[in-house]
């Protein structure tokens, strides 16, 4: 038996998604083959997905060895903590300040916190910083305006590459603000605030 770690994890992912889909699909009426209800196609799709997941699981036992990249202890902790903190933060934020329910603020802030925690572990740092940058863009865009949102996103994303120097980041920010203003505001005229409106 040469277990293929990548295939094994893929199989678990497929099975989990298929299981979730089949479970959610219990809400939908199936109908008959002749008159299909809303649940008929999902049943076929997720059912097939489940079978494929089982097939990949079976294959993974013999197609290796192709192990997953090694995770350090701190990577495990970082992932677990990040997801947990994010999941807790969302309902807490909504109940503490109901106004955050608008415009997906609570979701954005919860994701920001979660990625922030994940960025502590070196294995996840690059991914977490890039995605935190993009999330911050979403959180800031409406109230902070386009320019501030771009600046914050670029600065946070720049942390993901240790080669970046402050001056280079500043140059990127200015350049991107000018280009985005020209393309999206001047040429395409998208409806968005460009300056902060706190």
């Amino acid at each position: 038996m040469r277990i293929n770690g990548k295939d094994f994890a893929s199989a678990l992912l497929l099975l989990a998604l298929a299981g979730l889909g089949l479970w959610l699909n219990t809400d939908h009426t199936l109908g008959s083959a002749r008159r299909m209800g809303p649940g008929y196609m999902p049943m076929l799709t997720f059912g097939l997905e489940f079978l494929l997941g089982l097939a990949v699981l079976g294959i993974s036992l013999f197609s290796g060895p192709d192990p997953l990249e090694r995770w350090t202890k701190i990577d495990f902790v970082g992932l677990f903590l990040g997801v947990a903190v994010g999941l807790v933060a969302y309902p807490v934020l909504v109940s503490v300040a109901p106004a955050l329910g608008n415009n997906w603020y609570a979701l954005g802030i919860a994701m920001m916190i979660g990625f922030g925690v994940m960025a502590i572990s070196p294995g996840w740092r690059k991914m977490a910083l890039i995605l935190a940058g993009m999330t911050v863009f979403g959180v800031l865009l409406d109230r902070g305006g386009l320019f501030l949102a771009i600046a914050a996103m670029v600065v946070i994303a720049a942390l993901a590459d240790p080669e970046h120097r402050p001056l280079g980041v500043l140059g990127s920010v200015v350049f991107l603000i000018v280009v985005c203003w020209w393309v999206f505001i001047y040429e395409l005229d998208i409806r968005v605030n460009i300056w902060p409106t706190f």
Binding site: R34, M41, T45, E49, M127
Partner: protein, 500 residues
Amino acid sequence: MELLFENLAHGFGVALSLNNLLFALLGAFIGTAIGVLPGIGPVATISLLLPITFGQPATTAIIMLAGIYYGAQYGGSTTAILLNLPGEVSAVVTTLEGYKMARNGRAGAALAIAALGSFFAGSVATILVAASGPLLTDIALSFGPADYFSLMLLGLVISAVLAQGSVVKSVGMVVLGVALGLVGTDVQTGQQRFTFGIPELSDGLNFAAIAMGVFGIGEIILNLERPEVRSVLSAKVGSLFLTKEEWKRAIPSVLRGTLLGSALGILPGGGASLASFGSYMMERKMSKGGKDFGTGAIEGVAGPEAANNAAAQTSFIPLLTLGIPSNAVMALMVGALIIQGIQPGPRMVESQPDLFWGLICSMWIGNVMLLVINLPMIGMWVKLLQVPYKYMYPAILTFCAIGVYSINNNVFDVYQTVFFAVLGYAFAKLKMEPAPLLVGFVLGPMMEEHLRRAMLLSRGDPMVFVERPISAVLLVIAALALGLMLLPGLRKRKEEAMAG
């Protein structure tokens, strides 16, 4: 024949309008740039620029997006030859002989034959698209719902079979794509499916968010984790003119490459990279210079370069005539058309003559432009490579973020993109090929429609799929394709071809 010329004349009229000409040039230009730059491919770029095209008429939008795709095939060869650095997957094989030629001091000749071969192949493929379009459309109009369902199933199967890596996993990715396509309002009953009560999801998952997340942002993270390869231009470009001997060796290869590429492009699941690998294998076996392969044989540049460009263009045939995307880029085109309010399908040739003929003619014009953009301006493109990745990725990220927001003016789409970036990163780590997922996502909702209609017509009898001759043939082909890939010998051959 006369009608064809009339139609082409109409097409040139559309394609030569100032606005369309400008966007074709812009597309070809951007395409060349991303072809030259490693780390960003046509799928990410097209999804990135999708929102920018919304303000334009559909024809103009598609002309530009198409320009990016075939422009990338041209640009990819430049860095492959000069720096041994494939800008695109389809240019991987060009590095094998092209870089050797550059080392032998024949970089100019390699670049020239790559560009001229591509131009020739592109022109032939354009005529092929023009001629076969109306023909295939006539056939497609006789398709019933069952036939359509089987055709789409075949498209999905082949896109999975031809993807890199394990076939079973790729089929899993296709099905996952179909599953993602289920999210949203059920067309027939109006019931919300898998929306978790989120109003933004009632129109389904955002197509651009999936494409940008998986192919754009996910790719950035992976690139940052890889150490950057810096390469310096050592070889001189030299004379762009080919010797008589080189012409004699290259011309047959270009012809063979054009033929093979055109054929492979039409196949659902086919496309530029498959064509260039296929042509390389063929040239090694068939051409007179085959024994010189590995030392800088011009056949190994001429054939694959012609093939990938021909395939890039003929892969529009199934899209324009049947409404079936044959690869991830074509899936993006379907998305662009649907957002523009055009349902891709066999009626498009009749109902959107401007789009169909205009696009075909602009492809040819685009090829002329690319010749001009590429050959005399090679020095500029090589300079572009000196922009370090650390300045490129914040720009890509910014364009993704604003672009995806501007589709619906809703930040939820930005968070959706983040979600799919995580998923895309996971897929890459687990060696799950994401391209079939995108094809499945686009075809899924259409398949459900046709399945429902077919079963309603047959009163719930699934035998309809094998009783109708067209459908039966398509299903047999799909089964054969899957069956063949499960044979170990063939699977190994495919892996060899994919690895170059």
